[in-house]
Subunit: 180 residues, 2 copies
């Protein structure tokens, strides 16, 4: 297991050990002690979500919620893309990488998260450190905004009407730091 | 979301809300606040594991480790079976149910866990409240022990040599309570 920084401050790529055998494979997808020792924030997850995506090309995002996320795949593969929507100099900075079973990403609060699945039947799973509520304040940006220039590998299959309606980057209200 | 007891003391079945749409589905697989309010122990996970099972009929278990588990599927379906290996009157008590995306199970320390996947490409994911180590003391029982009479739905496809070597129930050393 090995943790790598990215151009987006606090966005970390985690390279996981995957043990293959006759049955398939096994991974410690999150392991608090080892990962904190290796540089992951001790983020304290309280919720685990799973989204199942039937068709290759399905796309979700780009969503910044008021909590941290630790994202990965349990089956299949995805192309992940992130956009910094925090107030400040890094606003608009992007990063993308493939999420295969070996690769997880820690997404700090205020960095917007998205993915396109590369295989039918991709299961995407993530841990978050606050409980979701329908009326939490989100910052969202449009997946297809040309200013982001995200190189989605496949033609878009399914997406939600909500995601279709998100503003382009130029119209996004930056996310303020957490009030303390 | 709704929690149900079983004949095995402390083994709980969790019926999850799954939101389907054009993209596939979404679920809160674990949500600390709501689930604790509904009766799940506040078990404090520190590790999330994923095992991917390529072939329908693949079988893993029956393993009691010295920590609690919260088990579920992220893709596909499995048949789950549990055997109480704790010292005391309930030793040998069994329970089984199908693990589909709607169904998770809380498995207390000392209750042995197993499953057979019902579809190719089933991803099984679980949270545990202590860090695994190769030399932790386990109690294991043989998946195929006729005394357990677990009605595996499919012929056995793949299994590990380690699982093939586990003792029958009559030869299992019961697991002692946690020393405090
Ligand atoms: C995020 C979330 C959603 N839901 C419900 C609301 C809807 O009925 C359904 C799907 O919700 P969407 O907002 O459409 O989710 P999605 O577009 O998949 O986005 C989610 O996954 C990708 C993540 O990037 C994103 O932050 C997260 O909101 O699930 C919950 O019950 N709990 C949740 O935590
Ligand atoms: C459980 C575990 C295993 N491993 C490694 C050891 C092996 O290289 C590989 C597979 O381990 P197995 O012991 O063969 O796992 P498996 O038979 O799949 O059993 C696991 O999943 C089903 C669970 O019931 C069981 O408790 C758990 O041990 O993963 C880890 O690195 N971390 C772990 O937490």
């Amino acid at each position: 297991m090995r943790i790598e920084t990215t151009p987006v401050p606090g966005l970390l790529v985690v390279h996981l050990d995957v043990h293959g055998d006759n049955r398939g494979w096994f991974k410690e997808n999150w392991q608090r002690e080892k990962m904190v020792a290796a540089g992951l924030p001790d983020f304290g997850p309280v919720q685990q979500n799973i989204s199942f995506n039937a068709t290759a090309g399905t796309i979700r995002g780009v969503h910044a919620e008021p909590w941290d996320k630790y994202v990965s795949v349990a089956a299949g593969r995805a192309f992940g893309a992130w956009v910094d929507l925090r107030e400040g100099d890094a606003f608009g900075t992007t990063f993308w990488t493939e999420l295969d079973p070996q690769t997880a990403v820690f997404v700090p609060r205020g960095v917007a998260n998205s993915f396109q699945v590369l295989e039918d039947g991709t299961a995407y799973t993530y841990l978050v450190n606050d409980h979701w509520s329908a009326d939490a304040v989100y910052a969202n940006v449009n997946l297809l905004d040309p200013a982001l220039a995200i190189p989605w590998p496949l033609p878009v299959a399914e997406m939600s009407d909500k995601d279709r309606a998100h503003p382009v980057l130029a119209d996004v209200e930056p996310m303020a730091p957490r009030r303390t």
